[in-house]
């Protein structure tokens, strides 16, 4: 019996792209439902009544929500390229960093633009990004996953691609090669992976979206 896989998402969302990366890594074919995030479909509201958000993955009729939960599910169900490390300790370290990115790093970075670049808010974002910079320095590898992309690289897609785009729109720049030599190098490597490039939304589309959001249109 073939698997029926449906993804309810929005191409411009870094959370949705996480799921697309995972599906691509496993070579899973799926039906993509593009949602209007300002007017979600009845399906999304039905399948994710708690958060009323995309992404939602529907696998043989079973709905799964929350991007990192979905990525772990995909890794659990489909063999092939592993997304989480095989070793239990390494797996816990990957989960730790993925959680850190969602709980601390992304909110701190995002807050900068809402605060119009307030110095304290920028300092807080830099402090969180520095944790990832240090982790890459200690590991000494190309990706958080070593030679290959893993859960942490996927989780950090906002930093790799979206952050620079919002910086360009708002003209508030703090994610620099000077301050974060390893993390900016990692971002370049990540966005230039062939399979990543195929999934990332066009930069022009993001620029347009954020110009509207930050009143720069």
């Amino acid at each position: 019996m073939g698997d029926e896989v449906k993804l309810y998402g929005a191409g411009g969302s870094p959370f949705v792209c996480r799921v697309k990366f995972a599906l691509k890594m496993k070579g899973i074919k799926y039906e993509n439902f593009e949602e209007d995030i300002s007017n979600l479909s009845a399906n999304v509201l039905k399948y994710n009544p708690v958060h009323k958000k995309v992404p939602v993955l529907l696998h043989n009729g079973n709905p799964i929500a929350e991007s990192l939960v979905i990525v772990e599910y995909i890794d659990d169900v489909w063999k092939g390229v592993p997304i989480l490390p095989q070793d239990a300790y390494d797996r816990s370290v990957a989960r730790f960093w993925a959680k850190f990115i969602d709980d601390k790093c992304n909110p701190a970075a995002f807050k900068v633009f809402g605060s119009n670049g307030d110095e304290k808010v920028v300092a807080e974002a830099c402090e969180q990004l520095q944790m990832l910079e240090n982790e890459l320095k200690v590991k000494g590898t190309k990706f958080f996953g070593g030679d290959n992309i893993n859960l942490v690289d996927i989780a950090a897609d906002f930093i790799a691609y979206w952050l620079g785009t919002i910086e360009e729109v708002t003209e508030i720049k703090f994610f620099t090669k000077d301050k974060f030599p390893k993390l900016t190098e990692w971002a370049d490597e990540f966005v230039n992976c062939q399979f990543v490039k195929e999934i990332l939304p066009p930069r022009e589309l993001l620029l347009e979206f954020f110009k509207k959001r930050y009143g720069k249109a």
Copy 2:
């Protein structure tokens, strides 16, 4: 070779108790290091430099932080009573609810006391708790894990035990049998499990702690 397991924690913390429940479920012997959370030891700062918080588990010299990450690690490494469901879909559902409790439910409930019972804040907390109430109603089981405790029950320990204690101290009550018949029944079942009782901190100790915190001492 025997395992060396050390837990750096504080008995009054619901996050630390999550780890203690997991270790108990697996029958793991460990050395307990009681920390003063207002003056953490050099070990905690060394092993959890990112968050500088307890709990930290040290397994054969490898540090792991973040309570839910630790609980998943314990379930990964030690056989015996399972903490996460065996089925991949059920596992994703358990992870979804554990994350919901940390991201939405606990912060919303905790905020009530900081807001001195502001009506809107209480309504928001009730809305989040209602999601758990509904989930229990749909499942129709004693625990989130079915007949036995699983990751979600462990994750919800704050709701089961701490919430009522803070309500008593602050005299702000919203987690009632009237509003949440299933969830309050679940809380009773959970705190009356023999192995849970053995781990929960004495109620008097919590009352004393929160009386100081909320200026009721």
